[in-house]
């Protein structure tokens, strides 16, 4: 175990040392203290408390006032979490959840995040907002050691759904991401979402589906290994990661996190916005029995949404949004339509929709029943 920990600490040291600059630009650590000051003192400031996914903090869809500085706080927590009935992960989390919480602001707002790395943590962390401009998305301004905090402010200039993730340098980047350190932010247009004709649309509910791919090593008996701490898990996990085949693909951090007692709920006639993020790997959400009425596949609201999609593509390292009005009651499965990942690796959520069945949309004309093989079905021959 000591060797593994040594390996880990060694890797961190390399990641911050000048010699490693050839590895990636993300080793850069900078500050902005000598740049020309901006005066935001006239802007209103608003504190927002984040909530655990799949839920999203209360927010206006159409902004009723001008730009503001929206203040968020997140604490980084390293802890073991259960990701399947028989598998555990030494997770690294934004605010204790995998995925991290979703933030919502409006275009032109300033996002001001205070990021805490508590002293009991083992590692350095930072945050790279895909919604932000410059300094590696904020990554090179936010590298915090255990016991440190930092405050980052960036202007939300582009409306859309975006991933944020930890990117502390070198091989730590993918490892921290597949250990759970990613989340999403949604920057709404000030006047809200628009359909393909530019007409305003709204949603009755919003669900944030954060998808993760996990790489849990197995022991010689084929059982998933558990580790003392993240450092202890590094070497074995890296080996599985480099094979590129995840052992688990989950929604909301755990196989079954959004099924059973935790299934999502909606009512017939409600419009639901599904925001789907994947920080590391491609995905293809599909709502079994439903559609995407309006889909911002790449997540960016300045683009005209696609209509009536069956499945949409989420590029690894992006977040997309799909709006759907539930027309029929029943059980819906929201899956990654790589069905191996959905059924065998975990990427399934359920939505329970109450309402009244509409036979015009679908009817079972003949219930499954035996047919007369001698006389029926001949016309169906190819």
């Amino acid at each position: 175990m000591l060797t593994r920990r040594a390996t880990l600490m060694g890797a961190v040291a390399v990641a911050t040392a000048p010699l490693a600059i050839k590895v990636a630009a993300s080793e850069e650590v900078m500050d902005t203290s000598d740049a020309k000051a901006v005066d935001l003192s006239t802007l209103p400031r608003r504190k927002v408390k984040l909530v655990k996914p799949p839920f999203v903090h209360e927010h206006e869809q159409v902004a009723t006032s001008g730009p503001a500085v929206v203040q968020f706080e997140m604490k980084i927590i390293e802890k073991e979490v259960q990701i399947a009935d028989d598998a555990y992960l030494q997770a690294m989390t934004f605010n204790g959840s995998v995925p991290g919480p979703m933030m919502v602001v409006h275009e032109g707002d300033y996002v001001e995040l205070t990021l805490y790395n508590p002293p009991e943590n083992m590692m350095q962390h930072n945050i790279d907002f895909h919604a932000a401009t410059g300094a590696l998305g904020g990554g090179s301004l936010t590298l915090v050691n255990p016991g440190e905090k930092t405050v980052l402010r960036f202007k939300a200039t582009r409306p859309g759904t975006f991933v944020y993730h930890c990117a502390p340098g070198g091989p730590m980047i993918p490892w921290h991401v597949v250990s759970g350190m990613s989340g999403a932010i949604m920057v709404l247009p000030r006047d809200g979402l628009k359909d393909h004709e530019g007409k305003p649309v709204s949603y009755d509910r919003i669900f944030y589906i954060g998808e993760n791919d996990f790489y849990i090593p197995k022991d010689e008996n084929g059982e998933y290994m558990r580790f003392e701490d993240a450092g202890d898990s590094y070497a074995d996990t890296l080996e599985v990661m480099n094979g590129l085949i995840p052992t688990h693909v989950t929604f909301n951090g755990k196989v079954g996190a959004l099924t059973g007692d935790n299934a999502l709920t909606a009512a017939q006639g409600e419009k639901v916005l599904f925001v789907h993020s994947q920080a590391n790997r491609d995905s293809r959400p599909h709502l079994i029995g439903g559609h995407g009425d309006l889909v911002w596949e790449a997540g960016k609201f300045n683009n005209v949404p696609d209509r009536d999609l069956e499945t949409w593509f989420i590029r690894g390292g992006s977040a997309g949004a799909a709006l759907y009005e539930f027309l029929q009651p029943g059980v819906y499965a929201y899956v990654n339509h790589n069905l191996i990942e959905a059924v065998n690796l975990g990427a399934t959520a359920h939505v329970l929709v109450e309402g009244e069945w509409n036979n015009d949309l679908m009817e079972q004309v003949v219930a499954p029943s035996e047919y007369d093989v001698m006389h029926e079905g001949k016309t169906a021959l190819p």
């Binding site: 009935d85 007692d261 029929q328 029943g330 929709v353 309402g355």
Partner: protein, 271 residues
């Protein structure tokens, strides 16, 4: 003398058993240390047939029937152990499957075919007829641990989504959280009949097929049924239908619905 007794026993059960053939054992039994069994006396029991049932085209709960068994049922007290299954594998009569290696563990990761292969081998080795229970028989042995498969939805409910949602919620409530640890046999205790580990985390294969049935207008009885035997009923905390070659239902489920934790089996002895 002994073989004569066996012969008469076999002849006697011939009238009861559905699958057994009368046979003469060619050699003495290889296994004489038999697993513990429990006898469930003949008599009435409550049962709901397994499968999909309709009044006309509308799905309804199968009628809950009081049936009367006219024979005593002798069933293994515990599910078949890894130790016992390993003997069958060693004898090349059963296919190797997952071995947990825990002392007294039930054999899991078992398909219907594995279970019936074992029954055939065990019958030969003991020179007694052993087979899987039918779904009815399992219900008899489950006693108070039998979980009624009815949803309690009004048979006149016209909205199919109500039944669907109710079924989902019932499965969630009944199943609770999955228990992924294999425990020694006996862990889940005995029921009032003395049968151990019923409705623990190992679901048990039965002989019974999926039934598509028609129910009388008043919902009281099954008037017509067709069996589909590519899937069999497995019993435990809930009744599930599993394709006969599946060993691990956790990865053999569909998009909605909740699969069994583990698949294993126990046998009944005829006569």
């Amino acid at each position: 003398m002994k073989s004569l007794i066996y012969l008469s026993a076999v002849l006697m059960i011939g009238t009861v058993a559905m699958t057994s053939a009368v046979r003469l054992w060619p050699r003495p039994p290889q296994i004489t240390d038999l697993p513990e069994t429990v006898v469930i006396p003949a008599g009435p029991y409550s049962y709901r047939p397994s499968g999909d049932f309709r009044i006309g085209t509308r799905l309804v709960d199968a009628p809950r029937e009081t049936r009367t068994a006219d024979y005593d049922l002798e069933i293994m007290k515990y599910p078949v152990s890894e130790t016992l299954y390993a003997l069958c594998v060693a004898d090349a009569a059963c296919s190797a499957t997952t071995v947990i290696g825990l002392l007294k563990a039930a054999q899991t990761d078992i398909s219907y075919k594995d279970a019936t292969d074992f029954a055939r081998w065990f019958t030969g080795m003991t020179q007694q007829t052993w087979r899987l229970p039918t779904d009815d028989e399992w219900v008899r042995a489950a006693g108070e641990r039998y979980v009624d498969a009815g949803l309690g939805i009004d048979k006149d409910e016209v909205d199919p989504s109500k039944r669907w949602l109710a079924n989902y919620r019932r499965l969630v409530a009944e199943r609770g959280d999955a228990d992924v640890d294999i425990h020694p046999r006996g862990h889940f205790g005995v029921n009032e009949l003395g049968v151990s580990d019923i409705a623990g985390n190992v679901w048990e294969w039965t002989e019974s097929c999926f039934v598509n049935g028609k129910v009388s207008e008043d919902g009281s009885r099954v008037i017509e049924q067709t069996n589909y035997c590519g899937v069999r009923a497995v019993q435990g905390k809930h009744r599930a239908f599993i394709i006969d070659f599946v060993r691990d239902a956790k990865v053999g489920g569909c998009a909605v619905g909740i699969p069994p934790d583990y698949l294993g089996f126990r046998l009944v002895r005829e006569g």
